[in-house]
């Protein structure tokens, strides 16, 4: 398929609330290379300008499901970084 050559596989990283403000974006599409767990995603985000505010209490969801720290991710996944929840 042309796609497999033309567009390298990506991970969509969703950002919310304070994290969206810190990074200045509601989502980022990143090359999947080197991103094999949620910890890799967190490390890459924290290296960006504003990313230092993505703290230890960040929850991570993969494809709308909360995931344990260090869960594996695959190309095409949507990984959401959730600041401390404040509903209710």
């Amino acid at each position: 398929m042309a796609d497999s050559v033309g567009t390298p596989p990506t991970i969509r990283i969703r950002l919310f609330a304070r994290y969206a403000e810190l990074l200045g974006a509601e989502y980022l599409d990143m090359p999947a290379a080197g991103l094999s767990t949620t910890n890799d995603v967190l490390a890459r985000i924290r290296a960006l300008p504003g990313g230092a505010g993505v703290g230890e209490s960040t929850l991570v969801a993969i494809n709308l499901k909360q995931a344990a720290p260090g869960s594996p991710i695959r190309p095409g996944d949507e990984v959401a970084l959730l600041p401390p929840l404040a509903g209710g």
Binding site: A17, E21, G24, S57, L64, P83, L85, A86, G87
Partner: protein, 152 residues
């Protein structure tokens, strides 16, 4: 049925969805917007959500509550801007007996706060805004927030 709404929540309508001739005990919880938070005067606030996940988790909470207790349950959570005194969340549980209704209603509000991806930004009377972090000791506006204004 959507659990998130931009419109005011109506407790009577929520209750009407879950009552039945066999369920004589109804317990509800309403969370209202307060006019202060940690000593600061709040003018209003805005809820935002990771909407598809929030809907899925709410459906999961209702299903697990209805399987753990012999109850019917409903909930509604606002997103968008809210004024002081408005209901941010409404939960209603109907059961044959009140024990179960109290236990299930309490369970729902605790789990909702713990698991549903919703965030709250408060606006204070001094013009600052702050994302509320219930895990923090106290809420302090960051420099970015003081400066104002990356629009959300």
């Amino acid at each position: 049925m959507a659990f998130l709404t931009r419109d005011p929540v109506h407790l009577d309508a929520l209750i009407a969805r879950i009552t039945g001739p066999d369920r004589g005990g109804v317990v509800t919880f309403l969370g209202l917007v307060r006019d202060h938070h940690e000593g600061r005067s709040v003018d209003g606030l805005e809820y935002s959500a990771y909407e598809p996940m929030a809907e899925a988790v709410c459906a999961e909470l209702i299903a697990e509550t209805e399987s753990r207790w012999p109850v019917r349950a409903a909930l509604s959570h606002r997103v968008g801007p809210l004024g002081i005194g408005e209901a941010a969340v409404a939960i209603a549980v109907a059961a044959p007996h009140r024990d179960e209704a109290f236990a299930a209603c309490r369970h729902l509000i605790e789990e909702l706060k713990r698991r549903v991806p919703i965030w709250k930004q408060e606006s204070y009377s001094d013009g600052t805004r702050c994302w509320v972090d219930p895990t923090a000791g106290s809420t302090k506006p960051s420099d970015e927030e003081r400066a104002g204004a990356r629009p959300w």
